[in-house]
């Protein structure tokens, strides 16, 4: 019995799709990595709410390989100031995105951590030191207390994530399917003391 041309084409297409799916599939033996906000709090300093936080940033093997291959990683901190309301849904009064770029420079063999908001940068001999530095947020100005309503109650929340928006489309299509590039912590919430 001979297969019809239509059947052969359909079979070839099915094989193609299967191969594509296999290529995109994740190898579970690799380290997945994770981001975690271990602690976060704000304090009022000179009328400005400043953030102190401790983050645990563990890169996945793929992100690590990309970093060592010269791909800069963007680690983003998302902060939201949320006004609590009694009879209505809470309102997000302020948002702050702080983006850090982590880059490996082959000539100096150092990891550079660059605050993209302020353009400050620092370099570290090891990735551990760089991530440790990134995970230690101290006195980060968040919001001017005067713009907040005096008699309102606020809560804040913080999330750390690995951003992939800056990459070219081919990489983003690839990263879209890879769990190792979906590094994102849970939201960490606390009451804003006034």
């Amino acid at each position: 019995m001979t297969a019809s041309p239509t059947f052969r084409i359909a079979a070839a297409l099915a094989l193609l799709v299967a191969l594509g799916a296999a290529a995109l599939a994740q190898d579970n033996r690799e380290r997945q990595g994770y981001f975690n906000v271990r602690s976060a709090d704000t304090r009022l300093v000179d009328g400005v709410q400043v953030l102190d936080a401790r983050l645990q940033l563990v890169l996945s093997d793929e992100a690590l390989a990309a970093l060592n291959s010269g791909v800069p990683l963007i680690i983003e901190l998302r902060l939201e100031v949320i006004r609590m309301r009694r009879f209505m849904p809470d309102a997000v009064d302020a948002e702050l995105d702080v983006r850090y770029e982590l880059e490996y420079r082959p000539l100096s063999q150092r990891y550079i951590v660059r605050n993209l908001n302020s353009a400050d940068q620092d370099s570290f001999a090891t990735l551990y030191a760089a991530l440790n530095s990134l995970g230690r947020i101290e006195s980060l100005p968040v919001v001017d207390d005067s713009i907040l309503e005096a008699d309102a109650r606020y809560r804040m929340r913080l999330q750390a994530l690995l951003s992939t928006q800056q990459y070219p489309a081919p990489l983003r299509i690839l990263f879209f399917w890879r769990d190792q590039w979906q590094l994102r912590s849970d939201w960490f919430e606390w009451r804003l003391d006034r």
């Binding site: 000539l107 100096s108 001999a125």
Partner: protein, 744 residues
């Protein structure tokens, strides 16, 4: 069926949806390729649209394939052509797509691979190594100078350290040198930065290195592509414990070298980034191209199905229409799809079926007319008393009507198709008929007319016969038709009428002079018989006696003629026929009949009949007298009379049979026995049986004369028992009573 348009609408909608989704997906794909900022917003939609497009097209493909397979298996008209065309179109679409896909993949892979070659990579590695080597040389020099400064400072008094530090910094070309104490406090610092600037505290890695009593030197990348070399050495020997700590120095890398180093660094990073992108790029392009190929393939295949269906649909319609025409359905009209050649073909087909339909309607109409004419003709022929027989040229019976069978005494209607001479073998009358006809046919007469006399067992039959050739056609041989009529009764009626006229004239012309003749003879006798001599008187006596006697005889004869010609109205009443027969027979028994034995047998329970009793009595008288006269001089003469019920023409009749054992009828007399003046008796007037026949016919009855099996004459009369029976017989007899049926 209502589901077919719905299915077509569903398939069409799905097809349009699939193609639209494909186009939208490809459009969005090109947008994301041009503008990666929209990627996050669009990619999920692209993905969903692509998946939906693929699913829709795949569902359509599977549905169409299944339908085609089903049609192919059930031998739906046009399915083989459709399968071939789909295969052809799919082949035409798929092969170029696969070729393009293959070469695109080759170009992409090879194009991407050409970005990376070993020479460039090795060159970059070498450039990086060279840069490192160059910078490491500087780093070693700066570390040595830092170490030298540290050693020098240990030789300087504590108060002079700050001054010496500035000198040494300028001499070493450092931008900043800071001496830290044991607890990391600044003991002395010198910097070319603006006054008041705080020196940078030693980092953890510096401290870690110093704690291990090892010097520290590192190349530090700064902003804007600048570099500096940072060195640190431990301080505080045994001689100068107050200086225990570290000396940290920062040496700027010259701008030109920094720029070049940064260029190498950036190029190397870019190359590594590109190299990292190589496989993802290939995978992404492969995946994108595969999706595009899949969509294009499915769209092409679906397009092939749609195109084929549209192209084959008119042909399928034509096949269905042709089959319908083959089955006789000429009313089928096909939808005209377009104005192309197929459309022209279909409109021609519609014209053809319309013409066929019109022609068939006309043919049906003509056939119906012919059938109606034929039915009318059959009715007419069936009702005709004239026999009509149509024959093939080889004398096979084509048609024959009932009258033909009745006249020729053979059932011709049920022997259609048989060879006429074969049929005639069992029918003497038909045999004589065929003999006469064959003479003309053998002579090649196309039309002939003749009066034929047929001789049967019970008498002769006179037919007028006409024959003509039929027009032949493609399906029929010419053949011919023979039309014949039994005119025996007609001739008899004419004879009867003639004899009636003779009788009337005789009664009128002869009876009147007879009385004067008789009176004159008697007068002559009275006047001259006595006065004449004896011998003359004897002559006169004998002559007048003869005259008177013969006149009496002539009077009787004339009276008999008068009786024959007389036709008063019938006096119909109910009476018992058996009793009447007994009365008449008893009358003859009481008379001297010369030793003739009379027998009478009547059927028990014979009902009364409706008839003219006087005439029936006369019939019996005449028959008995005729029989007695026939037996005159016959020793042992015997007359048997039977009265019984019988059926004639499906009607109840009373049958009276008078049979004698006399000489019977001779062959010539038998055919004319009921004619006046026909007699075989020496004393007969020849009017007895003629009058009986006349009386019987007045009652719509039948009289037959024949010779008995043992000799002697047999006269049989059948009289209808009632007025209704009489009317029924009149209606069923050929000629409807105008002509009485006679067997003589």
């Amino acid at each position: 069926m209502a589901t077919r348009p719905l299915k077509r609408l569903l398939y069409g909608t799905l097809g349009a949806l699939g193609v639209a989704l494909t186009l939208v997906a490809l459009f969005l794909l090109s947008r994301t390729a041009q503008d990666s900022q929209e990627f996050d917003r669009l990619y999920v939609y692209i993905l969903l649209i692509n998946v939906a497009g693929v699913l829709v097209l795949f569902a359509l493909f599977v549905g169409n394939l299944a339908r085609l397979f089903r049609e192919y298996r059930t031998h739906v008209p046009g399915s083989k052509l459709k399968a071939r065309m789909v295969g052809m179109f799919v082949g035409l679409a798929v092969v170029p797509l696969l070729v393009v896909f293959y070469f695109s993949m080759q170009f992409i892979n090879r194009g991407i691979d050409t970005w990376f070659n070993v020479d460039v990579e090795a060159g970059l590695d070498d450039a990086l190594a060279l840069s490192r080597a160059a910078l490491e040389l500087q780093m070693r020099e700066h570390l040595q100078s830092t170490t030298a400064i540290a050693e020098h400072l240990e030789q300087v008094s504590y108060g002079q350290i700050i001054f010496e530090l500035s000198n040494l910094r300028r001499q070493a070309g450092a931008s900043e040198i800071t001496l830290y104490g044991r607890s990391r406090q600044i003991i002395a610092t010198s910097s070319d930065l603006a006054a008041g600037a705080v020196p940078e505290a030693p980092s953890d890695e510096v401290l870690l290195q110093i704690q291990q009593a090892r010097p520290y030197v590192r190349l530090f990348p700064l902003q804007e592509g600048r570099y500096e070399i940072r060195t640190a050495v431990p301080m505080g020997s045994r001689n100068r414990p107050e200086l225990a700590g570290l000396l940290q120095a920062r040496f700027p890398v010259p701008e030109r070298i920094s720029r070049m180093a940064d260029s190498v660094d950036s190029s190397y990073s870019d190359y590594k980034l590109a190299e990292y992108l190589r496989e993802p790029l290939k995978r992404t392009f492969t995946m994108t191209l595969s999706v595009v190929l899949l969509l294009s393939l499915l769209a092409s295949i679906y397009g092939a199905f749609v195109l084929t269906r549209r192209m084959v649909a008119p042909i399928q319609d034509l096949v269905a229409g042709t089959r319908a025409v083959a089955k006789g359905d000429f009313d089928m009209r096909l939808p005209a799809p377009s104005r192309d050649e197929i459309g022209f073909l279909i409109s021609s087909f519609n014209d053809m079926t319309q013409r066929l339909s019109t022609a068939r309607r006309q043919a049906s109409l003509s056939q119906a007319l012919v059938e109606a004419e034929r039915a009318n003709l059959e009715v007419i022929l069936a009702r005709l008393s004239t026999g009509v027989v149509s024959l093939e040229s080889d004398l096979r019976i084509r048609t024959a009507n009932q009258a033909a069978g009745a006249i020729l005494n053979v059932d011709l209607e049920n022997r259609v198709g048989e060879y006429l001479p074969e049929v005639a073998k069992d029918a003497p009358l038909l045999e004589q008929f065929v003999d006469v006809a064959r003479v003309h046919l053998d002579a090649g007469d196309r039309e002939w007319r003749e009066q034929i006399v047929l001789r049967g067992e019970v008498g002769r039959r006179v037919l007028t016969c006409a024959c003509t050739t039929l027009p032949g056609d493609e399906d029929h041989d010419p053949g011919f038709v023979v039309v014949f009529d039994d005119i025996t009764a007609l001739l008899q009626a004419q004879r009867d009428a003639a004899w009636g006229e003779v009788a009337r004239r005789l009664a009128h012309e002869i009876k009147n002079p007879l009385t004067p003749i008789q009176l004159s003879a008697e007068r002559l006798r009275r006047k001259y018989l006595r006065s004449m001599p004896a011998d003359e008187a004897q002559i006169l006596d004998r002559a007048t006696h003869t005259i008177v006697q013969q006149v009496e005889a002539m009077k009787e004869m004339v009276n008999a003629f008068s009786e024959y010609a007389r036709a008063p109205d019938l006096d119909i009443n109910h009476f018992d026929l058996a009793r009447l027969a007994h009365e008449v027979v008893d009358l003859y028994r009481s008379q001297e009949t010369g030793g003739i034995e009379l027998g009478l047998e009547t059927e028990p329970g014979l009902p009364e009949i409706e008839a003219d009793q006087g005439r029936v009595r006369q019939m019996l008288h005449n028959l008995l007298r005729n029989a007695v006269e026939a037996l005159d001089g016959t020793a042992g003469g015997r007359i048997d009379v039977h009265v019984q019920r019988a059926r004639y023409l499906d009607t109840d009749v009373a049958e009276i049979t008078v049979a004698d054992n006399g000489p019977g009828f001779n062959a010539v007399a038998l055919s004319q026995v009921f004619d006046p003046y026909v007699t075989t008796k020496p004393k007969g007037t020849g009017l007895g049986l003629a009058i009986v026949k006349k009386l019987v016919e007045e009652h719509a009855g039948i009289i037959e004369a024949e010779n008995g099996e043992d000799g002697g004459a047999v006269i049989r009369i059948r009289l209808p028992v009632s007025e209704a029976a009489r009317e029924a017989i009149i209606a069923r007899m050929p000629g409807r009573g105008e002509k009485r049926r006679e067997r003589a």
